[in-house]
Amino acid sequence: MITSNFRADASSRYTKEPWGCFPSVALAWRMSEEEWLKNVEWIDNLKLRLGFGQAGNDGIPSGSFIPTMGSSLDVFYGYPLGNPQVMVGGAAVLTQVNTSGKWETNEQWDAGIDFSFWNGKLSGTVDYFLRNTLDALLYVNAPAHVGNLYPLIKNVGNIRNTGVELSLDHKHHIGAFHYNIGGNISFLHNELTAVNGGSPLWGDRTKTDLGMALNSFWGYEYEGIYQTDEEALTQLYTYKERPEELGVHAGDARYKDQNGDGILDESDKKCIGNPFPKLTYGFNLGADFYGVDIQLFFQGVSGNKIYNAMRERLEGDGTSHALATYMADEVWVGYTDVVRDALLAKGVNWMELENRNGTIPNPLGSPTNTENSTRFLEDGSYLRLKNLQIGYTLPKNITEKFHCSRLRFYITASNLFTITNYSGYDPEVGSGVDYGNYPQSRTFTFGLNATF
């Protein structure tokens, strides 16, 4: 079987090059229909698939690439003038759009096998895919000198997603005990393969550059807390002659000096992980036996990172956010000899106040303490029982007395438990940065199904 398709689309959104051409072709071979496999009894179905396709994306706001002038009396435009002052209407281009924007093309290569064996006892699919997003359109900030108030849409480069998806189902029964097991698992790799204009994309805590996953976390490698000023000076040795310029002290965060040059700067930051799971999986188990049925659905991810920005706030200075209760025990506190003496002179026992085993750097210390680093980066892997349902259907001979053909009681629980090392509320964080999203609720439902 061969299917092929060719389309040429024009979109008014792309003013410079409105036209885009998008071919696609798909090949399928049902091997189980071939003479040499037809007689193999245990094979119900075996199908090979190959596909290639391109599609254009113009799902962007109209006018994304057309310069427009806004005008009004008030916000962003107007200015008070005259005597007496009155608001005078003004006009301005708030965002200099990128007039050379062009189509984003999604290209997909796909190879797969569908199979079913032993009368459906085992069935599944295996797919390998490669998706290229060419000239991907993303919202980005322009450099300040462009003069934009808002981010704009730009063809940033090419993004490649490669992966393997595997799903398997097994259904069988042992006497009256019927069961099914199914699962799917996918491996995904995401990478930027070309950057238009050569400059990487930066987010608040992320960087996307050639060869890196989209929105990779970018920052320092956290090494703990400086126990003494001398320790800081030893690590950042270029300040030896001018220690007064060293901005960090005992109690501040220590980051790895990656290039060993004795200065901590942008060149010591690196990719410290990305928010994409290496592995995403789900599986369900179901069984029924003499009217009792049970279904479980698990899902999980593995190998992704979460930036716990919530913790960054909870371990802050307390001016704009509440502090975590554990702060009291875990903030590093240490005094210099001068301060110790001063405290003693006031009759304060400094030894009771010190906490040199504290794991949280001084929230009032160097502003670098909250720089992007592995300090707030956590493993986002989890396994969660998404859904559990247990039901019981009363035997027919009983229910028919009530003119009821079927009566089933059940109880459903969702998000019953989660196995994770993530310290935030909920490891299911959309963007990879956790600003303290409201966690998903655990729900219990009791129910009754009746058919008359």
Partner: protein, 532 residues
């Protein structure tokens, strides 16, 4: 054949037709190419060029006085605690990093102004005279002159904070042209001078402007800026980065001072205090002001722009509900208080020293030892409005109506005196310093020198956002360098205030870092300033 032609016709219609038909733009906007068709449109566009000047809030507060006053020896940060406005705390205490949000927002605001000016200059200069009946050569010149003046103003605000910055004088509507490297300090100053020279020849005298245009840039404002920028270029700190020697710039500065003085457009207010009242806005001494007014609408919203009022009043008013109930930033220092001669009436106009009975929570209202408040911008002196002698505006609690006095004629006279002194004309310098002194009833000085001039400039313009930039360009006040000056100031502070200050590093802290985020966004990967 006929059929093919029909298909072709459809295709042609599809190709040509849909482009206009499907183009929808947001309500309230006009296609850029359709906009510049009347004087009114051009004037609106130029009005829009002023707006970024008034922006004081985006992700954080970014008023220029956070740099001009607080970083200097004139003021301490203040606020609710040392950690309130951490960005300003870091800047005041030599802890600034390239991640400073105030510096990022300030940087972006200036460039939004520059981009607006670039657009206005590009399109208005293409407009034909007589586009409509009022689009005369004079009108076209005035509009272009305003845009050139403002572009110079924004670049000046950038160069004295970040040194050489990327220069663009064109509209950047294509991402291929995003990469622009930092220009040298000299290139930025050259552009500023060029724009101001154009503005001077295109703009009109204040006296010939209509009342409804009060607040727009004038020929006098352009000349005052030419005087100011030439003084900066003559000064020790900036001149080192330029090719011509100070004498050239002092001579130019003096010449521009001559022009503005000879124009007779401005006079000193007899009452110094009128410069800081609501009633005194755009008065006889005013050369250029950022205009603010009260409007009932407006909110923080998406940052920048959402207000016609100023945050400066609420930011600087005392935290005590008895005298304003503000947020208590920008406390004048004892060091500044002591700089005033005992009989100088300007001290109490500048500094409000609240009686103990007016302080509610000493631990907060007295910031690191300073109980003083900025009396110039707290609007304590307009009792007509309301609030028992500590005037208060009424329409919007946080957005004050007081204009920001950017250039006063007294400033011009002192700059002129400085230019004269630099050119070796002590007698002229002395006479102009004395004009400023006699206005406030002080005795005349017998000899004008750097010390006398710098003292006078400090007390006359205190808490108006000038001090830090003066200290930098002079490299301190006594020839011993800015570090020696700031160290000496530090020694006059309370031990509490001193404990927050890190060491001033010469060769680093005179300017601030280019925001890291902007280094990253620029495809050329701009170089960072020394030490950051």
């Amino acid at each position: 054949m006929k059929r093919n032609l029909l298909w072709l016709a459809c295709l042609v219609i599809a190709l040509t037709g849909c482009r206009d038909y499907l183009t929808e733009i947001e309500p309230g906007t006009t296609l850029l190419n359709d906009f510049f068709t009347s004087t009114a449109a051009a004037e609106q566009n130029v009005t829009g060029c002023y707006v970024p000047l008034m922006w004081e809030y985006n992700n954080t507060y970014l008023s220029e006085w956070f740099i001009g006053d607080i970083v200097s020896d004139d003021a301490l940060k203040g606020g609710g605690s040392t950690t309130d406005m951490a960005d300003a705390y870091d800047m005041e205490n030599w802890r600034t990093t390239s991640r400073n949000t105030l510096l990022l927002d300030f940087y972006r605001a200036q460039y939004m102004g520059i981009a607006r000016c670039n657009l206005a200059i590009k399109y208005i200069s293409q407009m034909e005279i007589s586009t409509d009946s009022i689009f005369t050569p004079t009108m076209k010149d005035r509009l272009l002159g305003e845009a050139h003046f403002l572009r110079a103003y924004y670049y000046f605000r950038l160069v004295r904070v970040y040194a050489g910055v990327p220069i663009t004088t064109d509209v950047i509507d294509d991402s291929e042209r995003w990469g622009i490297d930092r220009s040298s300090v000299e290139q930025v100053y050259t552009l500023i001078l060029d724009d101001l020279t154009k503005a001077n020849s295109m703009l009109q005298l204040r006296s010939t402007m209509k009342a409804e245009d009060l607040g727009r840039a004038t020929k006098g404002a352009a000349q005052a800026m030419l005087l100011k920028v030439n003084l900066y270029m003559a000064s020790p700190y900036w001149n080192k980065q330029l090719t011509q020697d100070p004498a050239t710039y002092y001579a130019a500065a003096k010449q521009w001072g001559d022009s503005i003085i000879a124009s007779g457009e401005y006079t000193l207010c007899s009452n110094y205090e009128d410069n800081f009242s609501l009633a005194g806005e755009n008065g006889q001494e005013s050369v250029f002001e950022i205009q603010y007014m009260e409007v009932p609408w407006g909110d923080y919203g998406e940052g920048f722009g959402f207000t016609a009022g100023s945050y400066s009043q609420i930011l600087m008013r005392s935290r005590s509900s008895l005298i304003g109930g503000g947020w208590g930033f920008n406390h004048p220092t004892q060091n500044l208080y002591d700089e005033f001669e005992p009989t100088d009436i300007r001290r109490d106009v500048t500094i409000l020293n609240p009686a103990d009975s007016l302080i509610e929570t000493p631990s907060v209202e007295i910031y690191l030892g300073s109980r003083y408040l900025n009396n110039k911008y707290g609007m304590y002196r307009d009792p007509a409005d309301q609030g028992g002698g500590f005037g208060k505006w009424s329409l919007h609690a946080t957005r004050g109506p007081l204009n920001n006095r950017q250039i006063r004629y007294a400033d011009v006279l002192l700059m002129y005196a400085e230019a004269a002194l630099g050119a070796g004309d002590e007698a002229t310098a002395r006479s102009y310093i004395n004009k400023v002194r006699t206005r406030v009833g002080l005795s005349e000085i017998a000899l004008a020198d750097d010390a006398a001039l710098r003292h006078e400039r400090r007390v006359e313009l205190a808490m108006e956002g000038h001090r830090w930039f003066d200290l930098v360009r002079w490299e301190g006040v006594d020839g011993k360098g800015l570090k020696a000056h700031m160290d000496a100031y530090k020694a006059t502070e309370t031990p509490d205030a001193q404990s927050h200050m890190q060491e001033f590093v010469a060769g680093k802290h005179e300017i601030f870092p280019i925001p890291q985020e902007e280094i990253q966004l620029n495809p050329t990967q701009m170089k960072q300033n020394n030490g950051y």
